[in-house]
Symmetry: C2
Subunit: 417 residues, 2 copies
């Protein structure tokens, strides 16, 4: 059997600062660029129930001036460094990602150190920030597929694990300046934060820079919010339009679970590539959909397979029936041929991913968050090599797709037969 | 001044087969992967007015078996090669793009040679293919921002240059099997086709493979469809919902125009990065939008700047007024500081792009299609180095944004003041 592990895997190194911040690096001279991902434990799970959107609005405000730079100087300097960057708020973490030429790595890190440690949070820009966040909430209302998948996660996961980080209108309107100051002070700290860097840089130099920028960052006590209630249940969202959007979720195993790669491969047989079962049965053979997919979404302590299909209202029940039949049929097992095709796709995807510093930095941070360590490419390769049709089928026999949550959005409700 | 041209640019090589197919390559041992883009002159501009969607449906059918492989074997083999691929139909060309490990380059090329030269076009799958294409058309109806931008291009460009390649319901329903056979036979040929490859491969070996796979591909006469009528004009699309979507287009210069980089840089000052004018004035200072942008879209013989802003109905007129004021103000010129930031972003983006074989292959094909040759990274660097605030401002003085087309989608029409 061909091994999956790619050649020339660079080493992944890690170091924990005294205050709890973890630094991970995968240096490689094959690139001219460097990318980093900075995770902080500041996600929307910490939003009070009547302040949904607080974490997102705080993050929006943090970019409006930090350290020695006012709002204008901050965005000017970031652009002048040639940095491609995104800031997103998830369930548990906020993520600050940046890619640039290697020369800009250090100044970009210094700027983001200001953003997370010394943001100005200007009170006189709060209303503008609030409006931007409200526009995001209103925008989702008009995009049915996104609205559906937000609702599916909300219905499937116990709260707060299914929240949409954008929050809601009432919550965003209620947030005060003091609440933003308090959220920032208590949820941005070194403990539980992860800085992952990939691409062209020197590891020892990075450690010196990280120590200088983050070494004196005082820890804040980590607030743990246990799941406080379950909102699981299927529902229909009435929506005028020619289309029906269907979402189905069922429980799976998390990334850190020893059986993760079994579950993940089973979903791959269902939905990865044009030869996958959903693509074949729903799209190719019956022409029911333009878009249909299933994906395994893993949080640290829970995971779900999320499926989507969008079709016309008149073909919606048939689309649901065929999709659902494939989910049920998965429990009967996968074939050696299906797994062979999937492994070829995985091997290729791993190597393509390795050729992007941004995606490597994201994976390093993800590994640390889920596992508390970095899996080398060799180890990932070995784990995938060890997956066989038999091991997947043993997993599926014990864990057949079941306990479904369904959300539909369209003119009429549908029935899960 | 720092030069923009990145170091270590690999060479771009080209060769024209006797039948007219152009092969372009940029070999580099820095990668484990290889990617290709195959362009064929088979876009939706060739759809008869009462068969809109013919090119897309033909492309959909071509993946359903080709050469020695039936529909099932084709998708199975493609997945078994570990190929990430997309097939898209544009205005002038169909594009077949694939990325994989270097080992899979040759078999993937052989498979796509079958697809474009020897597709089965199975009559017994026509209805399924038609349904898939119809589902795409219906889907756009429910996604307001996409629907708006499709309509903006349709209203702004003379027909057929603003078409949405997905076609329309009437056209797709009318297409016959014979029309698909005829379209495929007359619009897929070597003349005007371009094969661009980037990543790990040997140039001489690629030429041997290309000769073997495509050398005996018989030319078909290229049908030229001149613009046949203008449909330019602003309009409002009534749409129930809380949001208003605003699209504005104005003419610009094409990629092959000597002044392209002046026009492109001006749009960059308007919309590239968080410090850009639209982001600053519309989003940051006033909180009017979550999403606002302008981009220069270039076809071979024409180009336009396309702007989008999405907001709530009640803030729509203000959003339009502020956005429009920025377009008008652009004619007054850009500053040295704005251009400095933009150049830093461009330099970084060029190098990041160079680290992706898929994006390099796409750029090589694009260059050849627009210019009839490949611009080296050094030449691109020199062209951008030569742009100054003065040269941009001289261009803007001669070519101020004007002759606007506006399309709005929302509960009420708006007024361009």
């Amino acid at each position: 059997m061909t091994t999956i592990a790619p050649p020339n895997s660079p080493p992944a190194l890690s170091h924990r600062l005294a205050n709890g911040l973890t630094v991970i690096g995968e240096p490689s001279d094959a690139f001219e660029s460097a990318a980093f991902t900075l995770l902080t434990p500041s996600g929307c799970r910490y939003d009070p129930d009547d302040r949904l959107g607080l974490a997102s609005l705080t993050c929006e405000m943090m970019l409006r001036g930090a350290g020695s730079r006012d709002s204008r100087a901050l965005v000017n300097d970031l652009d002048a460094m040639g940095v491609e960057h995104t800031e997103t708020v998830g369930i548990s973490h906020a993520t600050f990602s940046a890619s640039s030429l290697a020369d800009s790595l250090e100044p970009a890190l210094a700027l983001y150190a200001d953003v997370v440690r010394r943001p100005h949070l200007p009170a006189d820009q709060l209303e503008q920030g609030r409006q931007v966040c409200l526009q995001e909430v209103y925008g989702v209302e008009d995009e049915p597929s996104q609205k559906l998948m937000n609702e599916l996660r909300r219905q499937h996961y116990p709260s707060p694990w299914g929240r949409a980080s954008c929050g809601d209108e009432a919550g965003l309107n209620a947030v005060t300046q003091d609440e933003i100051l308090a959220f920032q002070a208590s949820h941005y700290g070194p403990e539980g934060s992860i800085l992952a860097v990939a691409g062209r840089f020197d590891w020892q130099e990075l450690l010196r820079v990280a120590e200088r920028l983050f070494g004196d960052w005082a820890p804040t006590p980590l607030t743990r919010t246990p799941p406080n209630r379950s909102t699981t249940g299927s529902r229909h969202l009435p929506f005028e339009g020619s289309q029906c959007h269907i979402g189905i979720a069922y429980p799976s195993v998390a990334y850190r679970d020893p059986e993760y790669f079994q579950a993940w491969s089973a979903v791959g047989v269902l939905s990865s590539g044009m030869s996958s079962r959903l693509f074949t049965e729903v799209r190719e053979k019956r022409g029911l959909c333009y878009t249909v997919y299933a994906s395994l979404q893993s949080q640290v302590d829970r995971a779900a397979v999320l499926c989507y299909a969008g079709t016309t209202a008149e073909r919606a029940q048939e689309t649901l029936d065929v999709t659902y039949a494939e989910l049920i049929r998965l429990a009967e097992g996968v074939t050696v041929e299906e797994l062979g095709r999937l492994k070829a796709r995985i091997k290729s995807a791993l190597i393509l991913q390795q050729e992007s510093t941004a995606s490597r930095a994201g994976t390093l941070a993800r590994d640390w968050r889920h596992l508390g360590r970095v899996r080398s490419m060799v180890e990932v390769g070995e784990l995938i090599d060890a997956v066989t049709a038999d091991t997947i089928n043993a997993y599926l026999a014990k864990n057949p797709p079941r306990d479904f949550t369904m959300v539909t959005l369209g003119p009429e409700p549908l029935r899960l037969k």
